[in-house]
Amino acid sequence: MKSFPFIYNEPREFLSSLQPKEWANFFLGELNPRFSVTATKAKVIEVKEETSDSKTIVLKPNWLWKGFASGQHVPVTVEIAGRRVTRFYSLSSHPNDKYLQITVKRQKGGLVSNFINQNIKKGDILELGEASGDFVLTKELPKDLLFLAGGSGITPIHSILRSLQTLNYTGKATLLYFVRSYDDIIFKSSFDSMQKNSNWLTVHYVFSDIPKEGYASGFLSKEILETYVPNLKSSSVYVCGPSPMQTKALSLLEGLPVKSELFLLPGQNVGKVKKEGTVDVFLTLSHKTIQVKGERSILEELEEQGIYPQSGCRMGICHTCVCKKQTGSITDLSNGETSQLGEENIQICVSRAESNLELEL
């Protein structure tokens, strides 16, 4: 530690302890809840019903919004019963649009997706993070494009197609959109008009649950690909949808250039583990020892017991939940690797307790 006078040795730390940003945020927030110097806050301009279980939220962000590329996603933070919760959503609008938009489909048991569908209304404020993700168009556009979308996986693809439209794409693009029924199609009118006004895009809807005359039905299969995608062999593929569809697609499309984006709920990427007994987690800052099973992420297991470390994305992206592990071993859920016993920083949202742990919490 540097010594006296601290202000001379650590001027930055001193300045920040005067909380200039907190003060600024507070008073800006009093003027307009959208204003801030550190957080990208966005006001809900409009809520559009897409289908019976999905809504599009149109957002006006503040000056901190840095923009995005079609196909990227953004962390969205909402407050539910006083608690801030973050999830990632793809932006479904075009980067040049005046406002941003996300489209959220209710997930069974999904806390945030249901909350957004039920409670978000015009005038509300949501907090956004920075857009990220490489599910985007390549610099050089391929001649043949195939888009495979499943359910709400259509959102980034909608944005990408709109980009292609403004770029005056001259190749051929096919969209296969797998959806439960005719009524579940999101952005139908938008696709219809794009198709009508272009000669590069062909859209096929495939219904998995309720068939409709004149449309294909079933799940992704070799036959469907062969029927609807004449130029399959030369296509670059974008896949976005639930994980069974992704797995299927990857096996069917071997050898082709594929970009995929998986839509998961937090905790879904965790291969469920069953364990006998418990391990002790000692929280060194609060001097508490608690028993966890080591079946799910440490974050979830702590929350279950009423301890709430800070968290954000809950899927290992944002590093909000990083904490120092002093001893013990964990398994990194993102790659299944088991760590050493020594001191290191871990993300507790994607770490599972393997042995007794000491965490700086």
């Binding site: 530690m1 601290f6 202000i7 001193f14 005067l18 907190e22 801030r84 001097h287 009423g306 800070q310």
Partner: protein
């Protein structure tokens, strides 16, 4: 200390603990938006009072606005330390997942470093409430409050040292913090972090506080600087006196009991609850008063449920009182004046040797007498040597 409570047998204690647990669960299940709104309102009040207070002090050219400014700044500091800081640092609002109200990121307007405070307050004081030699808040190192502490002539001065402590309370809190952290570190680990490391953190925080209140803001006022220095000094003084009064009422009223390290060996959760009850005392008042004490007016509830959003203590209190009545347990409460007087009665009584003290305080009942006479407790201003510190095994 005499106990006015009924002595319970094992089963009764466990049954008592169960009822308290049920009460806790019931109330915690309700925690949500209402509590989030409350703490945001408190935060807002703290920011506005500080800006207004400082503004008035800076631009005051007559006494009225100066006094108003100083009072507002005192209120701001009190809110910052108590309803906001104390409660946030207990983790009462961690569930909100908002860095402004998170116990890991919060720092407060007081010379005491939040991390150090969390160690000796959240952990040491709340785990070992009123246990001699373990709870370093007990008398803040130089106040004798029970026969179990051996009388020395120096204790005659404790009414005066306490007045001094009251005026400089934040320094008392900050300065004993780093020492406690050092003392409670297992000896083997002390080499890793020396007393000086702990001290440095404290000094850093002091430097910041002094700089802010006595150099930065006065400098901003230009020629008006003496007024700003005076205003800050007074605001800190008022805050100190207030927190001292509230906090001393919490544990040192005449009926608040103390314990020995032997009594808590193998303590169950239910016994711990009971000790929190016996070692704490409440203050009665209106809602504004409760908020200004950071709900330490509900010290008993706070000690039983330190991580429950503090405003909930208001609804917990009557129900807890009922449970206590059912089990014949004394629920120590009274008006601020009554409790504060009783604290001072105790401070003065125990400044004298036992035969005088016990006359003033009345006889203690036998079963609470410590079974073992402790070696010299570490209640001195100077650093106790290694042998004197007691470690629980």
């Amino acid at each position: 200390m005499r106990t006015i409570s009924k002595k319970l047998n094992k089963e009764e204690i466990e049954a008592f603990g169960k009822e308290v647990d049920t009460l806790r669960e019931e109330v915690m299940a309700k925690v949500g938006k209402e509590d989030a709104d409350h703490i945001r309102f408190i935060y807002k009040t703290y920011r506005y009072t500080e800006v207004l207070g400082r503004g008035l002090i800076h631009f005051s050219f007559e006494p009225i606005s100066f006094v108003a400014g100083t009072l507002l700044l005192s209120i701001s500091k009190i809110i910052n330390n108590m309803e906001l800081g104390h409660n946030v640092l207990h983790g009462q609002y961690d569930w909100m997942n908002d860095p402004r109200f998170n116990s890991r990121t919060f720092e407060w307007d007081i010379v005491c470093n939040a991390h150090q405070w969390k160690f000796y307050h959240n952990y040491m004081h709340h785990t070992y409430t009123n246990v001699l030699n373990k709870d370093h808040d007990y008398g803040y190192n130089f106040t004798r409050l029970t026969e179990a502490q051996k009388w020395k002539p120096v204790h005659l001065t404790q009414p005066f040292t306490n007045m001094f402590l009251a005026m400089n309370f934040q320094w008392g809190i900050g300065a004993h913090g780093y020492r406690v952290e050092y003392l409670e570190t297992p000896k083997k680990l002390r080499k890793k972090k020396t007393l000086n490391d702990y001290k440095a953190l404290f000094f850093k925080k002091i430097e910041l506080q002094l700089l802010k209140d006595y150099i930065l803001f006065p400098a901003l006022a230009g020629l008006n600087f003496p007024k700003v220095i005076l205003g800050n000094l007074l605001a800190n003084l008022i805050r100190n006196l207030w927190t001292y009064a509230v906090i001393f009422c919490g544990h040192f009223t005449e009926n608040a009991e103390s314990f020995t390290t032997d009594e808590i060996v193998g303590e169950t959760k239910a016994q711990w609850y009971l000790r929190q009850l016996k070692g704490s005392s409440n203050l009665e008042g209106n809602n504004l008063f409760y908020t200004m004490t950071g709900h330490l007016s509900h010290q008993i509830e706070h000690h039983m449920f330190p991580d429950m959003p503090a405003k909930r203590y208001r609804e917990v209190a009557p129900r807890l009182k009922e449970i206590c009545a059912k089990y014949g347990q004394h629920y120590n409460t009274g008006s601020f004046v009554k409790q504060f007087a009783s604290v001072w009665k105790r401070i003065i009584a125990y400044s004298f040797p036992d035969h005088i003290a016990s006359k003033v305080m009345g006889k203690r009942k036998k079963f609470l007498e410590p079974t073992i006479v402790l070696s010299q407790p570490s209640f001195q201003v100077s650093l106790p040597s290694e042998e004197k510190s007691v470690t629980l095994t």
